[in-house]
């Protein structure tokens, strides 16, 4: 059966995400103005696009099911994501990540309801986009509950490794994006090696904190029914919108 021909090519694109982590470490990298947050989100989208195509290529019911669900969830998460970006960019008057970090880092007010809302929304979106509980269960192989796993069910060996790696990178990037935008403490403001290595230490610390929180979430919650997700992602959209509204109303 020669049906895997295309996927090899499209899988490679799924690890495009590798280019992005540089953004989250330092403010002064020359590459930082290549892409703003909207471009970063679009990079996630391109990875998802090709993973979903990989799911369609295997020509089974499971692959298509995974792709279909993944794209549905993504399209519901997208407006919420944009609203969250919008809210943060209202405060920083920019969509460039380094500029956002800069403004929030040097911001005078800590108690900003808009940012708090945006953070909550971002957490919900990140859970959905990275396929964690309660949206998707990364550990399951139960037929009806798979989303991401269903897409990659037929892959093995290097390809599987590549996909899994890309998926973990996605999680890592979401964590770093959140950490950079909402808790930028410790990020390197200059490009010199000392500052960068300090920033690296801070990054490890933040990562372990988020990892612990993720464990708590995953042990405390159960996976949702797929059609409950409209409510879950609707809440994310609601939170992000409330953030935007409270920026205008309260700040």
């Amino acid at each position: 059966m020669n049906i895997y021909k295309f996927t090899i090519e499209c899988l490679q694109v799924t690890i495009v995400l590798e280019t992005a982590p540089a953004f989250t470490l330092s403010l002064e990298l020359p590459i930082a103005s290549t892409a703003d947050v909207i471009v970063l989100v679009a990079l996630f989208a391109i990875a998802r696009f090709f993973t979903a195509l990989a799911g369609m290529d295997i020509g089974t019911a499971f692959g298509g099911m995974g792709s279909s669900r993944e794209m549905t969830i993504a399209s519901l998460a997208e407006p919420a994501m944009l609203m969250a970006i919008f809210t943060v960019s209202l405060a920083s008057k920019s969509t460039s990540l380094s500029q956002m970090v800069h403004v929030i880092y040097s911001g005078h007010s800590i108690l900003r309801p808009s940012l708090a809302f945006a953070l909550f929304a971002f957490i919900l979106i990140a859970l959905a986009e990275t396929g964690r509980i309660p949206v998707d269960n990364p550990a399951t192989h139960l037929e009806l509950t798979m989303i991401h796993e269903a897409m990659i069910l037929e892959y093995s060996g290097r390809h599987l490794a590549l996909i899994e790696w890309a998926n973990m990178m996605k999680l890592f990037l979401f964590v770093m994006l959140g950490a950079a935008a909402f808790a930028p403490w410790g990020i390197a403001e200059t490009g010199d090696p000392g500052a960068i290595s300090m920033a690296f230490l801070f990054m490890m610390m933040k990562l372990s904190i988020v990892g612990a929180v993720l464990v708590l979430i995953e042990t405390g919650l159960a996976k949702m029914r797929i059609f409950r997700l409209t409510e879950f992602l609707g809440s994310a959209f609601l939170l992000a919108t409330l953030g935007m509204l409270s920026f205008f109303i309260l700040e």
Binding site: P113, T230, E231, S235, L238, L242, L245, L250
Partner: protein, 220 residues
Amino acid sequence: MDINIAAQLNSFLAAFVLLTAFGMLVQRRMYGLVHLFAWQGLFLSVNTAVVGFVAGKHHLYISSLLTLTLKVILLPYILHVLIRRLKVHKEVEVVVNIPMTMLIGIALVIFSYYLMSPVTQLSTLVTRSTLAVALATVMIGLLMMITRKHAVTQIIGFLAMENGLFFAATSATYGMPLVVELGVAIDVLIAAFIFGIFFFHIHTTFDSLDVDQMERLKED
């Protein structure tokens, strides 16, 4: 605590009041609803104290305490008892689906901001910007009464509306006179008791607390 931080605290609490209002709008579980209501009361009470501090009005401390005892402890307790006695802690039936309700809620917030923006420009109080939030809370309470079928959720919606009004009073004029507030507090308490008694009666008569049953009272 300088006045700037107090103002920020005030708007932060206002945001949380709004959040709990939305939370109640979309919460399906009965106990969750009661807990959210208690949280809203807590935010309201803290906010009242903060405003009292900013404005230097000491009677607001009293109404803050009053809110705390009444809306955070007493009323939620009564509702808890009610729910347990009547065994109605199942999921709440909603009339309109939840994402739709959220969108209507957002529209209401925008609408109240639009309504209140001239007032906000006239006022000079530190708390003026929270007026729109207060109005929105009232409207969301009403929306909740419309979108829910169950009698207990309707009373919670009603109480949430009252919270909104109280919030409006604090932010628009630094609170009503103490006498009025005491009166309102006692009214709310009595209302809650009466509701409770009625619920028992409705429950024994119809064997349900679904307000759709009320349609049977209509004469043909």
